[in-house]
Symmetry: D2
């Protein structure tokens, strides 16, 4: 499978992220996806400030997580992020969270981001420059 | 569409739940799904304490949210929860979050819960009594 | 002790708010204080939108919580909020969180809010109208 | 001022940690204090697993934060943690959060931990071995 550029980010599980079952609460995996997403976009050189000055933003339109194994306090994890699909007005990112020490996969997931014209809050095409960065990352 | 029993729970958006975009951060919708889920299970009479004494628990195996409109600080929302599907070892719940005042749908989602034998951490059949409660709710 | 107006807000403990010790994680009490604070300010008629149009905002400058008893999943709590002190440029609010069913005190706390001129980000006097509302609440 | 061992931990501000004011929500500083606390205790060699096998645990009895400057998304921060005081049954830790790049102090704070006998849930003396570790850290 060719998935292009995969960016890895390290996470250490915080006590705040656990719940009464003794494992990480299921909403926190989406926070970790965000950490991976930010790291991925920084890595490919996407400049939010520039994009926003040009009147373009993007929002998460859909998010999914499959939980394969529990994560526990103080474990070191790796979040892997890559591009799954580049649409006309959307970008799909995929994630895999693995335990840094055992290699076990904790979770996999996906988020679909939709591009928005800040002026009228309507969806809009991916800006040309951003598209180039995404395509380059996908062909890496 | 017959979805059986739909349980509604009120939420008021907390400042803690917003992010720098001025809207509710995308992971918090899963927290609200949990609030709806707990309310649903309480409503149908599922007794966790009893279930756990019998050595059965369940965990979320998959969660999805589609974001249709942003939610803002102090808005009153309603979380609607119902059973989507009853499997051999799993239960799928569906959610709809609407703005209490405008009726606008904020998000829809789904979680798949899998039943676990606390003794050996393996998946197990839905306990008979829990299944009866689920089937009654679905035929309501 | 005369503390003036005390506003009560109900909370039900969410699973998301628990941690691996089986009790509510210690940062979440501050989220509950915020829920009480918002409820208090709404009750006394403080209109943030108006204040912000007049160029005044306020931020938390200090926050303290004393933890007296643990809170658990699904417990119903009451957050009580009242004014502790009205300064020249600051407002001190006090909080008490009690278990709704047993009356046991879970936590007490305090936050100091400082008023800010949105234009220059400097601290500023409490606006006259807001001061009137605070003083009325304190003498209730 | 002699504060003994100071342990530093790096944090990168997550989008999840911001609020609608565009800055980090005030409860999250306590999560960062916890990250600093865990790092500090790991550094001095405190072995929770051992302590808990000996029937001793500890809980936060009081927490305070003073907010000196706002923190923003994606900023890199340093959490500094040191021992403020060693009591008979309690340990007071102090924290300072600074901006990694500008050196500006974001917040300072304090938490008081109380030792608990897991058997009867009463407060208890700091175990001898833990006390030795704390005193060594304080005299560093």
């Amino acid at each position: 499978m060719s998935v292009g550029l995969v960016v890895e980010e390290q996470i250490r599980v915080r006590y705040a992220e656990t719940d009464a079952l003794g494992v990480v609460y299921y909403a926190n995996h989406f926070v970790w996806f965000e950490v991976g997403r930010v790291s991925f976009l920084r890595e490919i050189g996407l400049d939010f400030a520039t994009a926003e000055r040009e009147g373009i933003s993007f929002v998460v339109a859909e998010a999914t997580c499959r939980y394969l194994a529990p994560a526990h306090f103080d474990e070191r994890l790796i979040v892997r992020t890559w591009i799954e699909d580049i649409g006309q007005r959307s970008l799909t990112l995929s994630y895999q969270i693995v335990n840094h020490d055992t290699g076990q996969t904790i979770a996999t997931g996906k988020t679909i981001q939709v591009f928005i014209d800040i002026g009228n809050h309507e969806t809009t095409n991916i800006p040309v420059k951003a598209r180039e960065l995404f395509e380059r990352a996908l062909s890496d």
